[in-house]
């Protein structure tokens, strides 16, 4: 646009620019109409509708009971709903375990792959593979690997004398959460590593050169240079992973169906709405999930602001 700007009387130029601006605004919004219409129709309207439904006793099969406004009844029930409380605890446990494992393992892998070696391109390609496959498929693969009789995990464990006998990893309540976490960690760690790797590659090499000239050890370089400079990439990765983990559905659904002791928030909500047809109560659960996730977003964002200052 600057190349068009030729010396001209100031007032006229300003008028022309505002005219251009108005034109740009009009065309810009026109081009956005289809996308905004879709987003409004499939996301924003349903979100409003969910909030409304959460104040009603709506059932999916209408006609059994007429839909009525029930005020805060659903939320009151939800507050005392121990199944939901267990689901929240289960989901948060899952989130903390998977996100911390994925972060630490992902960072180690990223650091290893960041050093130049033969076959680095192949390595990066290999790391994309677990990310590309459907979660449901990954869950099925692991369900078979963790089979209590013919599973390879038990076989290897017994052969290597880590286990004394085969173990029912998925059905035993003591290990079921660990089993689900293993699938998620396997599927997502490489992806976390790739995101962190992208962050590592932005750090200029001469910073490290300067540090080693000054006699900083590799260990010091890691804590004083790598981690601080990687902080933006780390925070974004953690946010994305946390939000993803909080709405986990697929792995739990494949492993347990809706076994009551292993439900997550999303599993409980889905089975309330689709399984039992309690749309109103399910909507209240949805709103609660939405708020819980929002709380995490706010925590992360304020943390980001604080550390940036």
């Amino acid at each position: 646009m600057s190349s068009v700007a030729t010396p001209a009387p100031a007032p006229r130029r300003r008028r022309r620019r505002t005219k251009l601006q108005r034109r740009q605004t009009r065309i810009g919004w026109l081009l956005l109409i289809p996308s905004l219409a879709v987003v409004a129709f499939v996301a924003i309207y349903p979100l409003g509708k969910t909030v409304y439904q959460s104040f009603t006793n709506q059932e999916f099969l209408a006609g059994i009971t007429p839909t009525e406004w029930v005020g805060l009844d659903n939320y009151r029930t939800l507050w005392h709903d121990t199944i939901f409380r267990d689901a929240v605890v289960q989901t948060i446990k899952f989130t903390v375990i998977t996100v911390s494992f994925e972060f630490v393992l992902g960072l180690i892998i990223a650091l290893v792959v960041n050093s130049s070696f033969k076959g680095r391109g192949l390595m990066r390609a290999v790391m994309l593979v677990p990310w590309a496959i459907p979660t449901v498929v990954a869950a099925k693969m692991w369900q078979w690997m963790l089979d209590d009789v013919y599973g390879v995990v038990n076989d290897l464990g017994v052969r290597l004398h880590i286990l004394s006998h085969s173990h029912a990893w998925i059905s035993d309540p003591a290990t079921s959460l660990g089993a689900v976490c293993a699938v998620d960690i396997w599927k997502t760690t490489p992806f976390v590593a790739l995101l962190l790797l992208a962050g590592l590659q932005v750090i200029p090499g001469d910073v490290y050169e300067a540090a080693s000239v000054d006699g900083a050890s590799k260990w010091q370089q890691f804590w004083r240079i790598t981690l601080p400079l990687l902080r933006p990439a780390i925070l974004v990765t953690l946010i994305f992973r946390t939000l993803d983990a909080l709405r986990v559905f697929d792995v739990f659904a494949v492993f347990f169906g809706n076994r009551p002791d292993t439900q997550t928030m999303a599993i409980y909500d889905q089975s309330t709405i689709v399984g039992d047809g309690h749309v109103g109560y399910g909507a209240a659960i949805s709103v609660a999930i939405f708020l819980i996730i929002a709380v995490f977003v706010v925590i992360y964002v304020t943390f980001m602001r604080v550390t940036e200052e």
Binding site: S3, V42, R124, V129, M145, Y150, V254
Partner: protein
């Protein structure tokens, strides 16, 4: 002599620990050994489940369900693949998922690229608000609107139809497409359109004659990412689809049951064959386009 040289050198540079090891090729290999072990470990960790799926898919049932386990079948067979592909709901699922993921991708690219054009090449009020809206949509929890969508879909008589999925999958593919394509649009040089405007082209002509060809690589990457996301979706699929003939791939994978023989034994051989069938195209596409995918993913995530 060498020790004297070593001593002076290490006096000059304090960071030369392990220098004597780096002298000989063997010593160098020894220093590198833990590194390569780590690489090998990562490699095995990432790929072993696939190896196991392939191994189980080509193992005949008689060997699959025996202990001790065979790590490679003595008589590999393709019968599991034949069985899986002869299962009608699985064959239909491959078609259904292609239809759903393909349509969602095309619609997202068509209207998303236009939106990205507006957001990437125009300056106007409210632009950054729209960008924030799209960004927040990419982290929108789909479960939060399940009930509302469920009732809407039944009101529109879309329940148990692929249309329900095509419509609802736009929630996650469209904002993502817009976000990534906008970053591609912005990366193009600033005065690109001016020549075309001087020649009297309209904004739409500039869009599809000048800009669209230039971001073609971006369209391929974004399209593939949207396709994979739609192909992998499970929550909405399992909520809105009921008839086996309309299953998508993720539902089909979880629906294999034993036929004949031992009715209680899960047909793991067939399931693993199906697993291999549905993941091979994805893996192939990912490996071919890996550089671009990485660029797209990091544009979608890190720059956020």
């Amino acid at each position: 002599m060498s020790t004297a040289a070593e001593a002076t050198r290490s006096a000059a540079r304090p960071v030369s620990r392990g220098h004597w090891l780096r002298r000989s090729p063997l010593g160098r290999a020894l220093v590198k050994l833990p590194f390569w072990l780590l690489i090998a470990l990562i490699f095995i960790y990432a790929l072993f489940p696939f190896y196991w799926a392939v191994r189980s898919a080509i193992t005949p049932d008689a060997q699959l369900f025996t202990t001790p386990i065979h790590y490679w079948p003595s008589h590999p067979t393709l019968s599991n693949f034949r069985e899986a592909l002869s299962t009608s709901f699985f064959r239909k699922a491959l078609l259904n998922s292609t239809i759903v993921a393909g349509s969602v991708t095309l619609v997202s690219l068509a209207i998303g690229s236009v939106a990205a054009y507006a957001l990437g090449r125009f300056r106007f009020r409210g632009r950054s608000a729209v960008m924030y809206l799209m960004l927040s949509m990419t982290i929108f929890p789909q479960i939060a609107i399940l009930g509302a969508l469920y009732t809407m879909i039944s009101d529109f008589h879309l329940y148990d139809r692929l249309g329900a999925l095509i419509l609802t999958y736009l929630i996650f593919t469209l904002p993502f497409t817009i976000w990534v394509l906008t970053s591609f649009m912005r990366a193009l040089p600033g005065d690109l359109e001016e020549a075309a405007y001087v020649d009297g082209a309209t904004p739409l002509q500039v869009f599809y004659k000048v800009l669209l060809p230039l971001i073609a690589p971006g369209l391929v990457t974004t399209g593939l990412l949207a396709f994979i996301a739609a192909w992998n979706e499970y929550l909405y699929a399992v909520s809105f689809i009921q008839t086996p003939g309309r299953y998508t791939v993720p539902i089909a994978i979880t629906s294999f049951t034993a036929r004949g023989g031992n009715a209680f034994q899960v047909p793991w051989g067939q399931i693993m064959a199906a697993t291999v069938i549905v993941t091979l195209p994805l893996i192939a596409a990912t490996l071919i386009l890996q550089r671009r995918i990485l660029a797209g993913l990091t544009a979608g995530a890190v720059k956020g």
